[in-house]
Symmetry: C2
Subunit: 200 residues, 2 copies
């Protein structure tokens, strides 16, 4: 069985990478899986350990960070959430394609850990459109939005380091373009696999 | 003026990467330039320093290797030939797109030095076809060809680390596919450039 492929979807805040990921996961033909995150928050009714999350103690989570076992992590309301490297490795070894949605700062680090990963960077159609999206979210002050836009510029200066750049002007078109990248990637990997197993 | 883009064409010996590069350079629409190599061999009649080659002494060449100033180098008939990092940097700064044809071992190193480089890996349609091409060249013993094929397998196991994989089954189709990659890349870089310079 062939190893799975890791796809990382990244891009500045407000480019809609979360929605793009949801759409990609919803299309079963894409054969994509989310890796189960680890968290320090308490298990809620109906949640399943190892399915909803991997529940770990704060000590264990901090130990994993310290040992570089977390691909990325974040803290919300005092609880840690993160993607353990091992979970991703296990899924890839099982032949599953894994998709991760990661902030730009973390995305480039993933390439160092998984050099085979396909990093896709989503850009907005214009800065004005990006600003409008952030304003429409109605979550932040004008000052916070300006900071996000400044960060977006810095992040976009790194765009060429990604494998592919996709513009999210129209959601359907953006998802289609990424699906085309997935198909092309699968086709090429299959070609290489066949070459590696060919008797000549 | 925007910076140029570095394209690296690589692939196992016998995949036809040299021919592909020549075709890409011959099409002026591709706006590609070869970087001038440095060499320790003597200047021949009609050659121009800084155009045909940069002529340097063996001491200078070895000093450049020692200081990591060579992107890649090789020795033929006792003379050194190599690509100085600085030459590539200068051309990119002048807005020129640079193309390099590099053996797989060197190609991945270039990515470490130029993280924005687009690495294109050329694979043969089959191992049998690759073997036939090496046999048809009539340059090597059966033993040497077997070694090349074993090396090709190892190199192809690294294929996913490249930005793009292209099959060289039909030369024209292969060149067309790479030209499509160049165009897509130019288009996306322009989009990012516009975003970075947009007043919003």
């Amino acid at each position: 069985m062939s190893k799975g492929c890791l796809f990382v979807i990244s891009g500045p805040s407000g480019t809609g990478k979360g929605t793009v990921c949801k759409e990609l996961l919803a299309n079963k033909d894409n054969n994509l899986f989310l890796s189960v995150s680890s968290t320090t928050r308490e298990k809620r009714v109906g949640e399943v350990d190892g399915e909803t999350y991997n529940y770990v103690t704060p000590e264990e989570f901090k130990r994993m960070i310290g040992h570089g076992e977390m691909l990325e992590y974040a803290v919300y309301s005092g609880n840690y959430y993160g993607t353990p490297k091992k979970t991703v490795e296990k899924m890839l070894a099982e032949g599953r394609n894994v998709i991760l949605e990661i902030e730009p700062q973390g995305a480039l680090k993933v390439k160092g850990i998984f050099p085979d990963a396909v990093l896709i960077f989503i850009i907005p159609p214009s800065m004005a459109a990006l600003k409008q999206r952030l304003v429409d979210r109605n979550r932040e002050t004008e000052d916070q939005i300006e900071k996000r836009l400044a960060a977006a510029k810095w992040e976009m200066e790194q765009a060429a380091k990604y494998n592919r750049i996709v513009v999210n002007d129209d959601l359907d078109a953006c998802v289609c373009e990424i699906e085309e990248i997935l198909r092309d990637n699968a086709k090429k990997r299959e070609r290489v696999d066949n070459l590696l197993h060919e008797k000549y």
